[in-house]
């Protein structure tokens, strides 16, 4: 039987543990790009080859290759960094990137528009600040999410330590990164990759740690989830979840978003063993022929949950205890100042699209630089592309607030809808984008706010997420309203999420342009305003009112008609 393994598998296998021919590609002055194979390998080092899609056509006319540049994504477990680190992050973004810093939905930051010749200096600089980009992308464990939980500093501290340990434990061991970017000595003798092996995982792998009742990490959308079970700030253990994921492909019913299954309860000491076991099962059982079906969610569907759990328990050498029951009450962030009982203050700033940049309207980048130069606590990037200025003392509280206001980091009151919303990057940098994301979403929200106001529901938070394609980078399938890019100016409209990230939405209308979207939503908001029950969220309403059937088991019913 001759099933071809996916070409990426060969690239990995031939890459000598992620070295590929990156050095040659870097040295090649004739093109701003890498060799195609290296463009795959580079992801494991944390950066993607991109080109400015706005310029593609014109440059082709000019006998010029596309305007290639690179996007680098740092590894920043739980999104925590120090003010000193921020100063470097800021400087590098200004000097070696395109002048912006992009906070992501996985609690880290990205630089866009890095030119090939600037890659090595850039990677050196962030590493000097103790930030690396290993596995920022690629078929390995990605940045580990961790609830930034300003309310309970002690618990956050412990949980965040675990997030970091998981991240470190699941790091690739190859020295390629240090050799190529940090001029590390080439390793004598053979390399080895005890956990991953030379072909690594069949696909990306994502891990999150949540602290109820907050589901701001959307823990159920990750391949591997840990739900902290705590008693007055003391961590007791974790509920373990597996098999979540968003990515799907338009009109391919063999692909679907999926929420993670609960495997059981473990104590903190068992965390690493379980994480490693689950990764190894995915390594051995994951689909290496079709990348489309290579995520853990499909592996579990194929193996069956029971078999999967048994395999994990056997490899981890433990038995899961019954899951503890938990309550999640919300997705997304809580803005403004909160105190945490240990007279420390935490300021959550709304960063539109997570894009930190200086504009005529607001000098966000400069503002954060000034704050970083005096701040003595830490920074935390949230899974909603926002930023928390954490652990601020009473003395500094006012000063920091003034700076934030002065630079437009705290601006006019945003509506709850906007504060709960998310959009992905999409055009012009994202090669996968079919429609606009962050460039367009804010304008779209203006219209939505008008409609909401018209029906008097502007005080209602509605989780609305837009992505430029079905990959789902802003986790749109876990939103109350999902807008999935289908083509230029066109989106699928998804309804039925529960606003807590515990229920997937479902396609309600296909391929709508802006007017059709606004008309449809106008109708829906009108209906919701009239017919909702007290405290009934928009997503729950659309399901109760029968506008969409709830998604129970996506493998079976996700592609059903509403």
């Amino acid at each position: 039987m001759d099933i071809k393994v996916n070409p990426n598998e060969l690239i990995k296998a031939n890459s000598l543990y992620l070295r590929g021919t990156l050095e040659q590609s870097m040295a090649d002055q004739a093109t701003g790009a890498l060799s195609p194979d290296d463009a795959q390998i580079s992801k494991f080092h944390g950066f993607y080859e991109q080109d400015d899609r706005d310029q593609r056509q014109s440059r082709q006319q000019q006998f010029l290759e596309p305007y290639y540049s690179f996007m680098l994504r740092a590894r920043l477990p739980g999104g925590v960094c120090t003010p000193q680190q921020w100063l470097t992050i800021d400087a590098v973004g200004r000097e070696l990137g395109n002048g912006t810093i992009r906070l992501t939905t996985r609690q880290t930051f990205q630089y866009h528009g890095i030119l090939k010749r600037n890659l090595k200096p850039l990677i050196k600089r962030i590493n000097q600040a103790m930030i690396d980009s290993i596995g920022g992308c690629g078929d390995v464990n990605r940045n580990v999410l961790c609830n930034p939980n300003p309310e309970h500093s002690n618990l956050h501290k412990t949980v965040h330590e675990w997030a970091t340990r998981i991240s470190e434990h699941l790091l690739p061991k190859t020295r390629a990164y240090h050799e190529i970017w940090l001029d590390g000595e080439p390793v004598a003798g053979g390399e080895s990759e005890p956990l991953y092996g030379e072909t690594y995982l069949p696909r990306k792998f994502k891990t999150a740690v949540a602290v109820p009742p907050y589901n701001d990490v959307d823990v159920y959308t990750n391949d591997l989830g840990f739900v902290a079970i705590a008693e007055d700030d003391q961590l007791l253990g974790f509920n373990v979840l597996a098999g979540g994921g968003m990515g799907a492909t338009h009109d391919d019913s063999t692909t679907f978003p999926r929420l993670a299954d609960e495997l059981g309860y473990i104590t903190p000491e068992q965390t690493l063993a379980v994480a490693e076991a689950i990764v190894s099962v995915q390594r051995d059982f994951g689909d290496r022929v079709s990348r489309r079906h290579a995520r853990l969610k499909y592996t579990i569907e194929r193996m069956g949950l029971r078999t999967f759990i048994a395999e994990v328990e056997q490899r981890a050498g433990l038995q899961f205890e019954p899951t503890h029951s938990v309550q999640f009450t919300s997705q997304g962030d809580r803005y403004g100042w909160v105190a945490d009982g240990e007279n420390r203050w935490h300021l959550t700033l709304y960063i539109e699209n997570g894009r930190i940049v200086n504009t005529p309207e607001a000098s966000l980048m400069k503002g954060l630089w000034e704050i970083a130069s005096i701040h003595q606590g830490d920074f935390r990037i949230t899974p909603s592309q926002n930023l928390i200025i954490a652990n601020v003392s009473d003395q500094q509280k006012q000063h920091i607030e003034n700076l934030a206001r002065h630079h437009g980091l705290i601006s006019k009151q945003q509506t709850p809808i906007r504060l709960a919303s998310l959009a992905c990057v999409a055009l012009p940098t994202c090669p996968q984008a079919m429609a606009e994301g962050e460039r367009y979403f804010p304008k779209f929200l203006d219209r939505i706010e008008e409609i909401a106001a018209r029906y008097g529901i502007q005080k209602q938070a509605i989780v609305m997420r837009m992505t430029g394609c079905p990959n789902g980078c802003a986790r749109p399938y876990a939103a109350e309203i999902g807008l999935i890019g289908k083509g230029p100016g066109r989106y699928n409209l998804q309804l039925g999420g529960d606003g807590k990230g515990l229920r997937l939405n479902r396609m309600f209308r296909k391929n709508l342009n802006e007017n059709e979207l606004l008309k449809t939503l106008d109708g829906l908001f009108h209906l919701y305003a009239d017919k909702r029950l007290t405290n009934e969220g928009f997503g729950d309403f659309t399901v109760r009112y029968g506008l969409v059937k709830p998604v129970i088991n996506p493998a079976e019913d996700y592609h059903d008609t509403p």
Binding site: Q29, A30, T31, G32, S58, R59, Q60, Q61, Q62, F63, L64, E65, Y67, R117
Partner: protein
């Protein structure tokens, strides 16, 4: 028609035996004039295809007309002289300097040289070996020789007609005797040479009795169909800007449609072209002089309207010293008078001014005809051909940089480049002619490696080179060394080079973008950086080409000498000798402007 008649009737004196002759006659009898002309060009082409197969001096030839040209002007003068001489029955040969063996000078009795000056007072590439020979004290005495020189130059250059002057002086020191006083003709050379011809033929007659027997007919047949005096009307098929908006210089790619039966060119050749001046400039000129555009004026025995004359026939953007002089005589402005008195200040005055600057700053009264008489006729401009006829038969591609400069008057635009990059539209036609460049040619041996060094638009001929080598699938290795300002903005024809590299036609590519990095890098530095490889290629017999601006060429030349020193362990002098020897062997060719 005339051409054919001459050819056949004069066959008795031809070098062919009867068999060959009848064979030839049989071969051509079915051809019409068009075809005959083409065939003759083709035969001539066969001859010129052997740059090193030098024609030995033929003792019996009375007179040799030797020319050294870059842009074809010297050739046109030399050819017209040769034709007249032939009509009078003189046996002569017309030969380009690079096909001439300098040692043969000793055998010559009558030598007429037509030579232009290039670079900064240098002789054209084709005369390099000749000058090298004459400058060396090893060269033979030339007591037998009588000679005349027609020099072409441009008095707006510092070293006006330096080449013709030096040649004159070299020949006299070798003991040769002047037949007719040297002429140093300015850009309006065409007005001078008819008289000169008469004088030459007259004095030749005195020293050399006619000898009907020695007419060499092939000469006529070799006449190029289209030249400066008879340009071909080519239609613009396509024009596109190939630099980004933020590029420092705007470069355009143009494709013209040509008729391959009458226009043939080889990689390395240039295209001469006439252009239309900027209508807004002409408006300004008319309003400043208060003259009527519709008024008819006579120009070279034709009646045309003043506006047409200004648009199509007269030179407006290259301000020539002579024009300033004539203008001064009517403007009688004290400053201007002062300027024209001193050559140096006059030269720097014209350097960056256009006619419009002259007349706006120094008004004068004159009538339509006076204006026309005072201006020079338009100089055709040359552009390296960026395509190969073996790959695109019916097109000629050019790579044109818009010449913009701020001076005395904001946004000056070059005449031709302004027309070609801003004003010409697809579908428009303009007069063009091919300017052969025998001293910038691919090696005959298709397996010879080549190194192509160019900056800015100097890359144009290499596009032709690689198209040619691809079309002929030549096995020789190819190395491109290119320099410009910004990788992302003006990497001219980047996708072509990348494709050639993918198809492994282009084996090596080295780049220097001066403004990308903090410390500026240029091609010459790049060459030195890669000197080991470069020297290795040269040792393997590689041919080296350099094309682009004068400054770049100088820099490259120096770094080549430095490389020869470093790699060949030579002292500076012998390193320079080595580089010169490459030029003599035709392995180091330059096209500089």
């Amino acid at each position: 028609m005339e051409v054919v008649a001459k050819t056949t009737e004069s066959f008795p004196a031809n070098p062919l035996d009867d068999m060959q002759l009848s064979g030839l006659q049989h071969a051509i009898q079915s051809l019409n004039n068009e075809q005959l002309v083409w065939a003759s060009g083709y035969l001539a082409g066969l001859v010129s295809l052997q740059p090193n197969g030098k024609v030995a001096a033929n003792e019996s030839t009375a007179l040799t007309v030797l020319y050294a040209t870059q842009g074809g002007n010297a050739l046109s003068v030399a050819k017209s002289l040769a034709e007249h001489a032939q009509d009078q029955g003189y046996a002569l040969r017309l030969v380009s300097a690079d096909n001439y063996r300098p040692r043969d000078l000793a055998k010559e009795q009558l030598l007429i040289v037509v030579i232009s000056t290039q670079g900064e007072g240098e002789p054209p590439e084709s005369a390099f070996e000749l000058f090298k020979y004459l400058r060396s004290n090893k060269s033979a005495r030339l007591e037998k020789l009588r000679y005349a020189i027609f020099g072409l130059g441009d008095s707006s250059y510092e070293h006006f007609c330096h080449a013709s002057r030096e040649l004159d002086q070299l020949l006299t020191t070798k003991g040769a005797e002047t037949l007719v006083e040297r002429i140093d003709a300015d850009v309006d050379f065409q007005h001078h040479y008819t008289d000169w011809q008469r004088e030459i033929l007259h004095s030749v007659e005195k020293v050399q009795p006619l000898d009907q027997a020695k007419i060499i007919p092939i000469l006529r047949a070799a006449t190029v169909r289209h030249d400066r005096n008879n340009p071909f009307q080519a239609e613009l098929l396509e024009r596109r800007c190939i630099t980004t908006e933020d590029a420092l210089t705007e470069v355009h790619h143009l494709a013209f449609e040509i008729d391959p039966t009458v226009i043939q060119y080889q990689p390395g050749d240039a295209l001469g072209l006439f252009f239309r001046n900027d209508p807004t400039q002409i408006e300004k000129i008319l309003s400043h002089t208060g003259l009527e555009g519709s008024t008819n004026v006579s120009l070279e025995q034709h009646k045309v309207s003043l506006s047409q004359a200004l648009t199509e026939r007269l030179e407006l953007t290259q301000l020539h010293p002579n024009v300033v002089k004539s203008w001064t005589s009517i403007a009688n402005n004290s400053d201007l008078n002062a300027i024209v008195k001193d050559q140096e200040s006059l030269r720097s005055f014209v350097k960056n001014r256009q006619f419009i600057d002259l007349i706006t700053n120094y008004p004068a009264d004159l009538d339509e005809q006076a204006l026309v008489n005072l201006l020079h006729s338009q100089q055709p401009r040359l552009y390296s051909i960026a395509s190969s006829q073996n790959s695109i038969e019916e097109e000629i591609h050019l790579t044109v940089a818009a010449l913009r400069y701020q001076h005395h008057n904001p946004n000056h635009l070059g005449g031709a480049s302004g027309y070609l990059t801003q004003r010409i539209n697809e579908g428009d036609s303009l007069g063009v002619y091919v300017v052969k460049n025998p001293s910038f040619k691919l090696p005959e041996a298709t397996d010879t490696p080549i190194i192509m060094v160019g900056a800015g638009t100097g890359i144009a001929p290499y596009r032709a080179f690689l198209q040619e080598r691809e079309a002929l699938n030549s096995s020789g290795k190819n190395w491109l060394v290119f320099g410009n300002r910004h990788f992302h903005r003006d990497f001219l024809y980047q996708t072509d080079w990348l494709n050639y590299r993918k198809s492994s036609l282009l084996n090596r590519i080295s780049l220097a973008f001066s403004q990308d990095a903090r410390e500026r890098t240029y091609v010459q530095a790049k060459l030195y950086e890669e000197r080991t490889e470069l020297y290795h290629w040269l040792q393997e017999g590689a041919h080296l080409y350099v094309c682009g601006g004068v400054e770049m060429e100088k820099g490259v030349h120096h770094s080549l000498i430095a490389i020869a020193q470093d790699q060949g362990g030579l002292d500076e002098e012998s390193a320079a000798e080595y580089i010169d020897s490459l030029r003599v062997q035709g392995r180091y060719q330059r096209d500089v402007y």
